[in-house]
């Protein structure tokens, strides 16, 4: 199991700084929710961890059984090889490839190729719908099915940690809660460490072990545990409407 520790992260696009000294801890085997509405820097943070954006300063450390790796200096390829998989915002599937081909591509890294049959069986068990659709083009499926495929494709790389950016976007409410439950199952059954960015607070706090609220690129609230997150006045008043 792995732990992710982000400390004093500053990042942005060009001259525009989006994240200001963000510090986040994702303990081993935990599901941590990164909460915030649109435009507060959730996706920027996720992209920094995946290596798609180079941070200006700060550290992103992955602690894998005592070994420390500084992800801030790694390429996206190296980050994948350290066992981190990302489900990007908007799913980013390969629309003209079939479900199966999308899954195969998920297992591109060397360590994942050896386990490809096992991983695919696991994905089909988790999302039986994908097995029914295995020869269908990804772009022709419904939003819910596409989100399943996006999560499954990330799992194909046999990751130790999963970054999930807004799994609820564009899904019907019933599908949102199903998807969130599946993500919750993943951390308990596979021991995955999960960092999930989400703006649907009600759903996210159902499975989160702890949470952070990010406002204008700064951590406005860091919870100690799940209860702490649910009982917080700021969460209640701003985001839960009670």
């Amino acid at each position: 199991m792995v732990e992710l520790v982000i400390k004093d992260l500053v990042a942005g696009y060009g001259n525009v700084s989006v994240l200001h000294n963000v510090s986040i801890d994702v303990p081993e085997g935990n599901t941590v929710a990164l909460l915030g509405t649109n435009g507060n820097g959730k996706s920027t943070l996720m992209k920094c961890v995946a290596g798609l954006i180079k941070p200006t300063s700060g550290t992103i450390r992955l602690i894998d059984e005592g070994n420390e790796i500084d992800l801030a200096s790694c390429s996206p390829k190296e980050i994948v090889s350290h066992g981190i998989a990302m489900v990007p915002e908007g799913r980013r599937l390969f629309p003209l490839l079939t479900v199966e081909e999308n899954l195969y591509l998920g297992a591109y890294r060397k360590e994942a190729r050896d386990k490809i049959d096992e991983s695919m069986a696991f994905c089909f068990e988790l999302f039986p719908r994908l097995e029914e659709r295995r020869t269908q083009k990804a772009g022709s499926m419904s939003g819910g099915e596409q989100q399943m495929l996006a999560v499954a494709r990330a799992l194909m790389s046999a990751p130790k940690m999963l970054l999930i950016d807004e799994p609820s976007v564009g899904l019907a409410p019933i599908l949102v809660s199903q998807m969130i439950e599946k993500i919750g199952e993943l951390s308990s059954s596979r021991g995955l460490t999960i960092l999930m960015a989400e703006q649907n607070f009600n759903q996210a706090i159902k499975i989160a072990d702890r949470g952070y609220i990010i406002v204008h690129g700064e951590i406005a609230f860091a919870s100690k545990d799940a209860d702490d997150l649910r009982d917080n006045d700021m969460v209640k008043s701003y985001y839960l409407g009670t």
Partner: protein
């Protein structure tokens, strides 16, 4: 000869010609169909390979097919170099395919002028045991005559194109090649460097020019500007087959090969290109993505 005999002979020759067309087009199908680099210089690069084959054959007496195999890795490396240059000056700055077209147009003219300076404008041939003879057989009271040169080109072309098609559809790298134009960023999240995939796939497309050039000089006498006559053919085949579909390219190559052969036999060779493009327009009118295109009209 009777009509049926003539027609069947034309069809057999057309199938062989189709194999040759497939060898000319498959590299472009990768570069243009999968990677969206409009490599209009593709046929001219094939002519370059044909001249290299000519040199190897003329000076060292190497069999043209063997020469093609020797040239394949050379053209792979040339492909790496061309793509690196194209990426540095064009793709990195803007994704516009049209500006890239200017780059490849320039490449076409430079390559052509270099060949004219080196070889002049005379037609060149190679010599090999299978060039110049025909294989004649009688079947069901009809006589079939197949030039060995077309047969040799067909066998080599089939091995190359089918092999490449299987490799691209079954391997991890092949799948990454078909995915890279759809979403390069998503590919990097799978631990694949999209620029590297494009560079190698483009080089693979150019590597096919090595062997295709050898086949070209086996089939027809060549001169530096002969590539221009094939620009229409190869682009028509890739578009007819459907952008992004390698197997579609192979099917389209045979359709145009047979059509050209039949039309040349009955109406004269000057009608052949017109019929090719009529087929292309006819198919595009009913299926804008080409025969096996995947719905991505870009």
């Amino acid at each position: 000869m009777e009509f049926t005999e003539l027609l069947l002979n034309a069809i057999v020759a057309g199938i062989l010609l189709g194999g040759f067309f497939a060898a000319l087009s498959i590299g472009l199908s990768i570069c243009f169909g999968l990677l969206d680099t409009v490599n209009i210089a593709h046929p001219t690069i094939i002519v370059g390979a044909a001249f290299c084959t000519f040199l190897l054959n003329d000076l060292l007496g190497i069999d043209p097919i063997l020469a093609g195999l020797i040239l394949t890795p050379v053209f792979f490396i040339l492909g790496l170099a061309i793509y690196s240059m194209y990426y540095q000056f064009f793709e990195k700055q803007s994704a516009e395919a049209l500006r890239g077209l200017a780059f490849f147009f320039g490449l076409l003219f430079i390559a052509e002028v270099l060949m004219i300076m080196a070889f002049g404008v005379d037609h060149r041939l190679v010599s090999a045991p299978y060039i110049g003879n025909s294989f004649t057989t009688a079947l069901a009271g009809m006589e079939f005559s197949i030039p060995y040169r077309l047969l040799a080109a067909f066998v080599v072309a089939s091995a190359m194109t089918v092999g490449l098609q299987v490799y691209l559809s079954k391997s991890f790298f092949g799948r990454a090649t078909s995915a890279v134009h759809q979403d390069g960023m998503a590919l990097s999240l799978m631990g694949v460097d999209p620029v590297m995939v494009k560079r190698i796939a483009f080089a693979l497309g150019l590597a096919t020019c090595g062997l295709a050039g050898a086949l070209m000089i086996i089939v027809i006498p060549i001169e530096p500007a002969v590539g221009r006559f094939f620009i229409g053919n190869v682009f028509a085949i890739v578009v007819l087959g459907g952008l992004g579909s390698i197997s579609g390219t192979l099917v389209a190559a045979f359709i145009l090969g047979i059509a050209e052969s039949v039309v040349s036999t009955f109406f004269g060779p000057s009608w052949a290109p017109a019929v090719s493009f009529a087929i292309l327009l006819g198919v595009l009118a009913f299926k804008p993505t080409g025969l096996f295109g995947s719905g991505d009209t870009r």
